[in-house]
Symmetry: C2
């Protein structure tokens, strides 16, 4: 296999013109193309192991069958790389290649990542974030840009997890199983700032609505914007010291992890003595014992959806992706 075969090689071997070869290989519907010619072309192409050169095609067509993925830093994050996988799967299904770049959410690096994708003539660009914040992304005339798991101040089409519905479902899940005395850890006004999150407000609203529809409200709530294990640990102790509860909703899995630690310290078994439900479905969630029931942030699905929208064009302003419940073993059925 000295040199890669070109269209011209296939033409030569099949005794036809490059025009014809190109037509055949691209399935151009036409009066053209005698069956015989088509066969000769195909067998010549097969014999030479011909594969078209995408650069040449891109140069000619302006289309490259390439999609760019720019992340803030989802590549380094512990659980969001599923977004890349969603993109990759969808790209492969559509016979597209993925270019990747990282921006660190710095304006200059965003701009240069965008330039890079423009240079390479990506047919679409997905801008993915680990946390659903509001960001600045310049408007591009040349190519569709879709934001995954975030919103841009410029109003690009975006794909977001349906936090309201997930919050509602989490609360209802508890209520449906007979829980009435429920506490929450992780309430914070500060987190409503779109620079920090565009979805947490929805998460709160859904949870509150789910409870309210059952005529309930939280028996105790713990404030806290730093959603790490320590908050869950201290929060659980605070709750358990203050009142009797059968269930705790944790703002996320890391907080839930802290709740587990506090429960174990107090000799409380989950879920027999205390039920826990939470959000995110970090991989941590399936390592806890018992495994944690949690509402999954659908990174994979968001990646896939964003790619579809970017490539199909004409994306709606906002696309909601459901957050499926990962039903495991941390909630007791009281009925």
């Amino acid at each position: 296999m000295a040199k890669r075969a070109t269209l011209a090689d296939v033409a030569r071997l099949s005794g036809l013109s490059t025009t014809t070869v190109s037509m055949v290989l691209n399935d151009r519907p036409n009066t053209r193309l005698s069956q015989d010619a088509a066969d000769r072309v195909r067998s010549a192409a097969a014999k030479l192991n011909y594969r078209p050169n995408p650069a040449a095609r891109g140069l000619r067509l302006g289309k490259t069958r390439t999609v760019g993925f720019i992340s803030d830093e989802v590549t380094i994050t512990r659980y969001a790389s599923a977004m890349i996988r969603g993109l990759l799967e969808e790209a492969e299904a559509r016979d597209h290649t993925v270019l990747i770049s990282e921006s660190g959410r710095r304006a200059d690096r965003i701009a240069s990542a965008l330039d890079l994708m423009l240079d390479r003539q990506a047919d679409g660009i997905v801008f993915g974030l680990m946390g659903a914040k509001q960001i600045h992304v310049p408007i591009l005339a040349e190519v569709p840009v879709v934001i995954a798991n975030a919103m841009s101040t410029e109003g690009h089409p975006c794909v977001l997890p349906d936090e309201y519905r997930a919050g509602h479902e989490a609360a209802s899940y508890l209520v449906d199983r007979g829980h009435r005395r429920i506490a929450f850890i992780g309430r914070s006004e500060a987190l409503l700032d779109p620079a920090l999150s565009v979805t947490i407000g929805q998460r709160y609203a859904g949870i509150d609505a789910g409870l309210a529809e059952a005529g309930l409200e939280f028996v105790h709530q713990v404030e806290g914007r730093n959603w790490e294990p320590d908050l869950g640990y201290r929060g659980a102790h605070e709750i358990l010291d203050a009142t009797a509860v059968t269930a705790i909703i944790a703002a996320n899995d890391r907080v839930a992890f802290g709740v587990y630690q506090a429960a174990q310290e107090r000799g409380l078994r989950i879920p027999e003595d205390l039920s826990v439900i939470s959000f995110d479905d970090e991989y941590l969630a399936s390592y806890l014992r018992p495994q944690l029931t949690t509402m999954q942030i659908p990174y994979l699905e968001m990646g896939r959806t964003a790619l579809q929208l970017a490539l199909d064009g004409d994306a709606p302003n906002q696309t909601m992706v459901p957050m499926p419940i990962q039903e495991r073993a941390s909630v007791r059925d009281l009925r």
Copy 2:
């Protein structure tokens, strides 16, 4: 910005030929290029916001300033995405773009991922794995392939973590701090199969050597090839039931997590009553309390190194990357 400016546009605006423009913009050392011409070219290019079209350049040159990254599934894994980051950083530093693809370690998908990179005329290919196994990767004549965190049966150049040194260091770390009664969880003959791991043998050997040099051997060892929390949990109970130890070496962080759970159940504090050291540095390690001291698998550095080797060509058969100790709070100094 109706249309992207081309070389011809710059030539027209500067009143010079495309030849000259190309020379100037590519800094061709030459007798050519009067200062004046160069200035005119550069200012025209700037005015038009000219950026060269990589597809056209690639077509002409055969070089694309592109590197391909094929993973088995590091993109979905929880802690290995650092490898992508290493690649991305190094690629950016060298002004290269990264194409990404996933193979799932299936021969057909490896082949098609490779084809894709060849089609796109990548200047180098990095094949990265999450777990350091031996795999089959076809030999490519056209472009250098470097394997990161694995070995190929075909003998491609590869980049591996220096497990022997890390094992040795972990053991010595304990010994140096006065530990004499040490146990190990995760010994397994079966894991020595290169289809499962090409590094675990080194890890064992390093640990054993570190102990032996101090005239020590393990007071207890727990067999186990399934390195999950459950093994650590049962293993720790087994050890603690059998004998007195001051420290446990866990085969990896997930095993260490199980050790923590068992210790807490028994009312043993880490590190006061029991020291733990382990391997991998999953993000879990910094969430445990106290934070876990562990030998880091240097994904980022392996990614970076593999890219360098792939691009610079002429890579050695095997390149070892050190596994830095992440010194945290799970080991007590007994001296």
